[in-house]
C-alpha cells in the first residue's frame, strides 16, 4: 500500500524577509498543514547567496511569537558559529515555540566568508580553535548541540518553595565533548519540555550523507539522498516512496506562489500534517537516549537553606 508523503517548504533568503514582513503571509503560512518549513535552505544547500537574507534564528524568533502552529527548521553551520552558541539558540527557540522548531545543520554557510585556511570552521573567531570545513565538523557540531540540549533534564525543575530548591541541579551534567570542538557544558538553559530538538541534515548525493556513529544525532535527511527529497517549485514531485517532500521556492519566486503551490499539492497526493504541535511529535520521532549515566554532575546536591 502506498502511504502518502507529507509536505514541507524550503524558504531561501528573500522569502525570509518577505514572509516576516507581511501579516497576511504569516497567517497563511501558519494555517498550512505542512510538516515544517526550512528557514534559509539556501544557506546550506550549496546555492550561491541570494541578494538578501536573514539569520535563521532571528526569523525563528519572530515565527515562534507571531504564529501559533507552523513548525520550522533553522539552518546553521559551524563555518562562523560555535556549537555552544548554536545550541543556545536552538534550545531557546524550542522553549519559546513550544517545540515547533528544529535544526538543519549544514557543512558550509553560503552567506559567510571563508575562515582561515588552517581552520575554516569556527577558526575565524580568532580564539585559537577551529576545524576543517567538512561533514565531520558539521556532524560533530550536531552531536554537541544534541548533547548540550540534553545536559539539563527539564524535569529537574521542581520549584519547591518549602526547601527553597528551584532545580535539582545535581542532575545537570557536563557534556565533556572532545571532538572537532572541546566543550565542557552544561548548557545554560534546560532541555525543552518537548524533548531535545530534531536535527536534520542535507544530502543531495550519497557522498553528502552524514558520517555515522551509534549516537547519531541526525534524525532526518533532506535531499535526494535522504528520505525527504527537495523539489523546486514548478517541478513535479519525484516518483517513488518518500516520507515527505520539501517544496523549495527559487529566489525569483514569491512566498505566495510557494503557498499557492503547497495548497494545490496538499489537496492532491500529500497527507496534511497536524496544525500545531511539536516537530518531534509531528514527525513521529522518538526521544533520543539521555546522556550516559557516567557523565559528570555539574553541581552538588542542593540542600535546604537557612537565612543570613
Amino acid at each position: 500500500m502506498m502511504t502518502k508523503p507529507y509536505l514541507a517548504l524550503g524558504l531561501a533568503g528573500p522569502h525570509l524577509v518577505e514572509l516576516t514582513t507581511n501579516h497576511q503571509l504569516l497567517e497563511r503560512w501558519d494555517a498550512l498543514p505542512v510538516a515544517f518549513s526550512v528557514l534559509g535552505i539556501d544557506r546550506i544547500d550549496g546555492s550561491a547567496p541570494a541578494p538578501v537574507t536573514l539569520s535563521s534564528s532571528a526569523v525563528g524568533a519572530t515565527l515562534a511569537s507571531a504564529t501559533k502552529r507552523g513548525r520550522f527548521l533553522i539552518a546553521a553551520s559551524p563555518q562562523r558559529d560555535h556549537p555552544y552558541n548554536i545550541a543556545r539558540r536552538v534550545a531557546s527557540l524550542a522553549h519559546l515555540s513550544g517545540g515547533r522548531s528544529g535544526l538543519l545543520i549544514g557543512v558550509r554557510d553560503a552567506y559567510a566568508p571563508e575562515g582561515p585556511k588552517d581552520a575554516p570552521a569556527w577558526g575565524g573567531a580568532g580564539l585559537g580553535g577551529g576545524a576543517p570545513l567538512n561533514a565531520q565538523t558539521a556532524y560533530d557540531t550536531a552531536r554537541a548541540v544534541r548533547a548540550l540540549e540534553q545536559s539539563w533534564p527539564y524535569d529537574s525543575i521542581i520549584g519547591d518553595r518549602e526547601t527553597g530548591i528551584l532545580v535539582e541541579s545535581n542532575r545537570i551534567l557536563h557534556v565533556d565533548i572532545e571532538n572537532s570542538f572541546s566543550i565542557a557544558g552544561p548548557l545554560n538553559a534546560p532541555a525543552p519540555e518537548t524533548g531535545a530538538s530534531v536535527i536534520a541534515w542535507y544530502a543531495e548525493t550519497a557522498t553528502d550523507r552524514p558520517p555515522t556513529s551509534d549516537d547519531t544525532p541526525i534524525e532526518l535527511i533532506l535531499g535526494a539522498a535522504g528520505s525527504v527529497p527537495v523539489v523546486a517549485l514548478g517541478k513535479e514531485p519525484p516518483v517513488g516512496q518518500f516520507a515527505g517532500i520539501v517544496l523549495r521556492a527559487g529566489i525569483e519566486q514569491s512566498v505566495s506562489e510557494l503557498l499557492d503551490a503547497a495548497e494545490r499539492w496538499l489537496a492532491d497526493g500529500f497527507v496534511p500534517s497536524a496544525l500545531g504541535g511539536s516537530l518531534r511529535a509531528t514527525l513521529n520521532l522518538s526521544l533520543p537516549a539521555p546522556l550516559p549515566s557516567t557523565a559528570r554532575a555539574a553541581f552538588p546536591v542542593p540542600q535546604p537553606h537557612v537565612s543570613l
Binding site: L54, A61, L96, G98, P113, L127
Partner: protein, 413 residues
C-alpha cells in the same frame, strides 16, 4: 531573569518554569511598553552557574528571546547582551542586524567581554584571556561588526585585516528601520570606558554615589567628545536595584522577605567574586580586615569587575561595617550596583536629583522581582515622572535610536 534577587522564583505568581515560558516574556515586554519605557535589557553569558536556588543563571539566548518579545510589542527597545570574546564577529553582525530588522529597528547589542573559567571551557579554552587582551579583541570586534553593518547598506565588501580577525565579505541582511543596532557597553574598567567613549551609544555603569556617577558621566562623555562625537550620542544609564512599596516600611519589608527567602551563600559568594577574596573565610561579626580592602595585587588576572570592586571598597571604607552587617546593609544600599528601597515617589525624587545633578541620562532599573515589580514602575513611578515633566506620555518615536535621541541633551560640563 525573574528579578535580581535569587528567591524571585518563589512567588505564587510564577509557574516553576516561568524563565522559559513564552507568555512570561511576552507579558514583560507588553508591560514595559505600557509604561513607554525606552528599552528592556537582558544580561548574558555563555555559561551556567548553579541554578539550584536561583533562576538568574538560566539564560535563553537574548537575540532569540527578545526577537520573540518583539513580535508581541511594537515600540519598546530591546537590548541584548552578547560576548565579544566568545563569538565570531561575522555571525554576530549578521544575527544582530537580522534581529534589528525583525524588531523594526528596536534592537541594541550590549558588548561585554565575559569573565569566568566556565565560559572559556565551553569554547575549548582553559581560561579566559586577560582583561587587556579581551578589550583589545573587543575593540577590533566592534570595528568589524560596524564595518559589516555598513556593508549591508552600501553593498560593498569589507576587507578587514587586523590582529584578531580577517574578513573579506559583506552582509546581505537588509538594513533595519534604524539602520543598524544601537551599541551598548557594560563594564567599569578604564578599557571599558574608552571603548564606550569611542563606539557605544549607551553605557550600563555601576555607580554607588552621585559624585562618583557625575565623575564617570563626564569622563565617558569626554571620551566621546575626544573621539569627535557629540556627548549627546552616548547615554549613561547606571543600574539601580529596586524594591518598591507604598510606604518605606513596606518596601523594606518586601526587600527583607525576598532576601530572607534566598540562601546566604549567595551574598557571600557574590561578595567574594566582586572583591576577589573568599568572603566565607571572613568572621561574619568582625569588620573587614585591611588585606581585603587593599588595592588589588594583579589586576590582569582579577576575575571580577574593577569598576564594581572600586565602588564596593569605597563604600566599606566609609562606614567600616562588620561583614554580616555589610551583607545585610547592601540590601538597602546596593551591591556594586546602587540599590534603592522606598516608595515610587521617593524613587522619582532620586531619579530627578541625579538627573538634574548631571550624573545620569537615565537608569537601568532592576526590580527585585519583575512579575510584580515592573507593574509598580509602570503604573506608579512612570505617572509621577510624567506629572513632573520628566518622562514621555506616549511613544513619539519608533526606533530605539530615536527614543534615545529624543532624550534631554547633556548638560554643559
Amino acid at each position: 531573569m525573574l528579578g535580581y534577587l535569587p528567591a524571585a522564583w518563589k512567588t505564587p505568581h510564577l509557574k516553576k518554569d516561568a524563565f522559559v515560558d513564552p507568555e512570561y516574556w511576552e507579558n514583560l515586554g507588553k508591560t514595559a511598553e505600557r509604561g513607554t519605557l525606552d528599552a528592556i535589557f537582558l544580561a548574558d553569558g555563555p555559561l551556567l552557574g548553579d541554578p539550584a536556588y536561583d533562576a538568574n543563571p538560566i539564560r535563553l539566548e537574548p537575540t532569540v528571546n527578545w526577537g520573540h518579545v518583539a513580535a508581541a510589542t511594537s515600540r519598546v527597545g530591546l537590548v541584548a547582551t552578547a560576548s565579544s570574546t566568545f563569538n565570531d564577529p561575522f555571525e554576530l553582525a549578521e544575527r544582530f542586524l537580522s534581529f534589528d530588522h525583525q524588531t523594526g529597528g528596536r534592537a541594541a547589542w550590549n558588548v561585554v567581554t565575559t569573565r569566568g573559567v566556565p565560559a572559556a571551557r565551553n569554547f575549548g579554552m582553559p581560561d579566559i584571556p586577560f582583561r587587556d587582551d579581551r578589550y583589545e579583541r573587543a575593540n577590533e570586534f566592534v570595528d568589524v561588526v560596524r564595518a559589516l553593518w555598513a556593508s549591508a547598506a552600501t553593498g560593498r565588501d569589507v576587507h578587514f585585516h587586523g590582529g584578531f580577525f580577517d574578513i573579506d565579505g559583506r552582509l546581505r541582511v537588509p538594513p533595519s528601520k534604524q539602520g543598524h543596532p544601537v551599541i551598548f557597553q557594560a563594564g567599569g574598567s578604564p578599557q571599558g570606558r574608552e571603548l564606550a567613549g569611542r563606539a557605544a551609544e549607551g553605557v550600563f555603569a555601576a555607580e554607588l554615589t552621585k559624585n562618583q556617577a557625575i565623575e564617570h558621566y563626564r569622563l565617558v562623555k569626554g571620551f566621546a567628545r575626544s573621539n569627535g562625537r557629540s556627548p549627546d550620542d552616548i547615554k549613561i544609564l547606571p543600574g539601580l536595584l529596586l524594591s518598591l512599596g507604598s510606604t518605606e516600611e513596606e518596601a523594606r519589608r518586601r526587600s527583607d522577605e525576598i532576601h530572607d527567602a534566598g540562601p546566604p551563600s549567595y551574598s557571600i559568594g557574590w561578595l567574594s567574586q566582586a572583591i576577589g577574596f573568599d568572603a566565607s573565610k571572613l568572621e561574619l561579626d568582625e569588620p573587614f580586615p585591611e588585606e581585603v580592602l587593599a588595592p588589588i595585587g594583579n589586576a590582569q588576572s582579577f576575575l571580577g569587575s574593577i569598576g564594581f570592586r572600586e565602588s564596593i571598597i569605597t563604600q566599606i571604607r566609609k562606614t567600616n561595617p562588620t561583614v554580616r552587617s555589610y551583607l545585610k546593609q547592601t540590601r538597602y544600599t546596593g551591591s556594586g550596583h546602587a540599590g534603592f528601597v522606598g516608595t515610587p515617589e521617593q524613587l522619582a525624587d532620586h531619579i530627578e536629583d541625579w538627573f538634574h545633578a548631571g550624573a545620569i541620562d537615565g537608569f537601568n532599573l532592576q526590580p527585585d522581582r519583575l512579575i510584580d515589580g515592573l507593574d509598580v514602575i509602570v503604573d506608579e513611578l512612570v505617572p509621577i515622572l510624567r506629572e513632573r515633566g520628566l518622562y514621555r506620555h506616549q511613544y513619539e518615536t519608533e526606533t530605539l535610536r530615536e527614543h534615545f535621541q529624543a532624550a534631554s541633551p547633556t548638560p554643559p560640563f
